[in-house]
């Protein structure tokens, strides 16, 4: 008996009226997988780096996220506390267990309770890093890993993302290039979240409501550390 696999692949081959690829040679197809080439990149994604960071910020704001810029990574704890105060949120955060975040001077914030690890109910505020920010649509790229649990991006009502300006790129394709450099060609982390603003729905009478299931608020702290690609 033929397997379901052979049944489907056989039917595909029969319908395509051939036994192997035709227009493209197997080598061409294999190369498309081993050496992917960017397609048409919008001009908007090809700005000089400082303009990209500005675009990232304005796109985020358009997406109903909030943005604060700081010039030094040590200012992040202050920025987080200010954010919590301004929105009357409890002084308690769940941190992604990354060295970069854990080593920030949190001890200066006497009222702030920090813990780290994957999100649990009823965590209200998570603070994570990011892998990249894609300016063309204000999209954050975050991937899963030992120091970046995915649940932090979705369970708490408030998600604070620390993004270094050197992580900002123009187009999604530059994000993939960085990902391949970090993980190797053809290899992906378990999850890659591309996040563009807080959770939303238009399912009731097409009225846009924030906070459908994921975070109601997305706050991005941009740390200006220059342009790593320059």
């Amino acid at each position: 008996m033929t397997s379901a696999r052979e049944q489907i692949l056989g039917a595909v081959k029969t319908s395509l009226k051939r036994n192997g690829p035709t227009e493209s040679t197997p080598e061409m197809l294999a190369e498309r997988l081993s050496d992917p080439k960017p397609g048409l990149i919008p001009e908007r994604a090809q700005l000089p780096h400082p303009a990209q960071v500005d675009l990232m910020e304005s796109m985020l704001i358009e997406l109903s996220a909030t943005v604060q810029r700081v010039t030094n990574v040590d200012q992040v704890p202050d920025a987080v506390v200010d954010y919590l105060k301004a929105r009357n949120l409890p002084q308690e955060i769940r941190l992604a267990p990354s060295r970069e975040l854990l080593e920030l001077p949190w001890e200066g914030q006497s009222l702030l309770k920090t813990s780290s690890g994957p999100a649990r109910e009823p965590d209200q505020v998570s603070v994570t890093g990011a892998f990249a920010g894609v300016a063309e649509t204000g999209t954050l790229m975050l991937h899963s890993g030992a120091d970046s649990p995915t649940t932090l991006n979705f369970l708490p009502e408030n998600h604070v993302v620390v993004l270094r300006s050197s992580q900002v790129v123009g187009a999604y394709e530059e994000g993939w290039a960085r990902l391949r450099r970090a993980f190797g060609n053809g290899t992906m982390p378990r999850t890659l979240n591309m996040i563009s603003g807080p959770s939303r729905t238009g399912d009731i009478e097409q009225k846009i409501e924030l906070g459908a299931h994921g975070p109601r608020r997305l706050h991005v702290i941009i740390v200006e550390d220059g342009d790593a690609s320059a």
Binding site: V12, P36, G39, G186, M188, T191, N193, S199, I204, H213
Partner: protein, 477 residues
């Protein structure tokens, strides 16, 4: 699900008489179209990206076997498992087997049209497994025991008052004085209810917008984040996808993503685009322990190489129905099965047979608005016409219509006879209608005069008048 497509005319009549549906359609036909237009206008490369997206899908389909094999290889390499499902039954069985093996009692679900196509919820419920839809629109229609009426906005036909009534009837804890009159209240209520469901679920099932052959990745595009909670919290993640979803690499997916949300909701990008590759890794602190992909054929392989191959480019954005005046008139449920609107009118007969779904490709004026907005440029009217050709060949066209058409075509192919007969007929009709200039009713024209007057002909035909004029000395000047 049981098809009601053969009742299309009756379904449509009921929908036209339903004020809820008409109010909802009046709202949607301005909302989606305006937002798409604005998003497209903001990206100068939009039209060129549509071409590129079309080309990528064409390439992927032309080499589908290659990319499916490479995709499977990669999924397996990352610790996931691919289950090939030639039919809906095979897909249902594969999913139920997994759920039963892990002793699942509750399954949460992200929005998936394939799940609707294979009627998965019913199958799981019959086996004693609770299937909970988590997309707000899907959750609403699950409460209402209705199918989706739109592929990206499943509850677009439901008013907020109806949602409130459904919540009050089915959420037992709700105090009577709790306000649920505004969408915000309703969204919060659903958020609260569903939160516990995510945490309790044993298996999470999502669809896929794309499968990436390069990396063995599945991609979902959502706005609510429900798909992410569905797939990250339970110990098993099952992806159900049809075979035509595979594209070669991440760059190809990016190009298509640039036109997807803009065409669908008019967003630049959806809130969450999530790429999943295999189960949780040794070092991961969260994520599912098992990752399965159900690859469904269910008739698609036989569309390849046929005049319907281009339909397999469809990326399920919903733009065609958002812009369809017939959809706006009758709503999604009238189409009677899973896929409504122009894409449904082409796809549905492929999946459940033209005998059952024959009305769908006929209920179009060929106005072409769907094709003009399709992000992958599917010639939808042309393919609806192909269905009409198949129906005509199979003698499925209604007999009375067919014989009328036959007489007309007989005459149209004989210009001299045609001229003589139309000349006489039109003169008679013109004389009959001369007093009022139009007819309120006319034998054999009931389809027309039921709702509108029929303008009377002016009297003689153009051909007669022209011939007279030529005889009396040339030009009409």
């Amino acid at each position: 699900m049981q098809s009601r497509s053969h009742r299309f005319k009756e379904n449509a009549r009921e929908a036209i008489a339903d004020p809820h549906i008409q109010a909802a359609m009046a709202k949607m036909k301005v909302g989606f179209t305006g937002k798409r237009l604005a998003a497209a206008a903001r990206l100068p490369e939009f039209e060129a990206l549509r071409d590129a997206a079309r080309d990528i899908k064409n390439h992927s389909l032309a080499n589908l076997d290659f990319y499916l094999e490479r995709y499977e290889e990669k999924v397996t390499e990352c610790g996931g498992q691919v289950h090939w499902a030639p039919t809906a039954e095979d897909a249902r069985k594969a999913i139920l087997d997994i759920c039963q093996r892990v002793g699942a009692k509750t399954v949460t679900k992200g929005k998936s049209m394939i799940s609707e196509e294979i009627a998965l919820n019913e199958h799981l419920e019959n086996a004693g497994i609770a299937a909970v839809e988590t997309d707000l629109g899907e959750y609403i229609i699950q409460l209402r025991k209705e199918p989706p009426s739109h592929i990206i906005a499943p509850a677009v036909h439901v008013s907020k008052e109806q949602v409130e009534a459904d919540f009050r009837a089915q959420h037992q804890h709700l105090p009577a004085d709790r306000s649920l009159s505004e969408p915000t209240d309703l969204v919060n209520e659903a958020r609260q209810i569903l939160r516990q469901r995510y945490l309790d679920a044993d298996v999470g099932i999502t669809g896929a917008n794309f499968l990436i052959a390069e990396t063995g990745t599945s991609i979902i595009v959502t706005n609510e984040g429900n798909g992410d909670l569905t797939q990250s919290l339970p110990k098993v993640h099952i992806v159900i996808a049809s075979i035509e979803k595979v594209v070669p690499n991440l760059e190809d997916a990016s190009t298509i993503l640039r036109v997807l949300a803009r065409s669908a909701t008019g967003q630049e990008f959806s809130a969450y685009t999530t790429l999943s590759t295999g189960p949780r890794r040794a070092e991961d602190p969260d994520g599912p322990e098992e990752y399965h992909v159900i690859l469904l054929d269910n008739g698609r392989s036989s569309m390849l190489g046929s005049e319907f191959q281009e339909m397999l480019r469809c990326i399920r954005c919903g733009a065609c129905m958002n812009h369809c005046p017939v959809y706006h008139a009758v709503g999604g449920h009238s189409y009677g099965w899973v896929y409504p609107g122009p894409m449904g009118a082409v796809l549905t007969p492929n999946l459940i047979g033209v005998e059952e779904a024959g009305h769908l490709p006929n209920a179009s004026t060929f106005c072409g608005r769907c094709e003009s907005v399709c992000p992958v440029r599917i010639p939808l009217p042309k393919m609806m016409r192909h269905w009409r050709e198949r129906e005509f060949e199979k003698h499925l066209t209604p007999t009375s219509f067919r014989s009328g058409l036959g007489i007309w075509a007989f005459l149209a192919r004989r210009p001299a006879l045609y001229r003589r007969l139309t000349g006489l007929g039109i003169r008679a009709l013109g004389a009959l209608g001369r007093r009022r200039g139009r007819f309120r009713s006319l034998p054999l024209a009931g389809g027309w005069t039921k709702y509108r007057d029929l303008p009377a002909p002016q009297g003689k035909t153009f051909q007669q008048l022209w011939a007279e004029k030529q005889k009396n000395g040339g030009s009409s000047k």
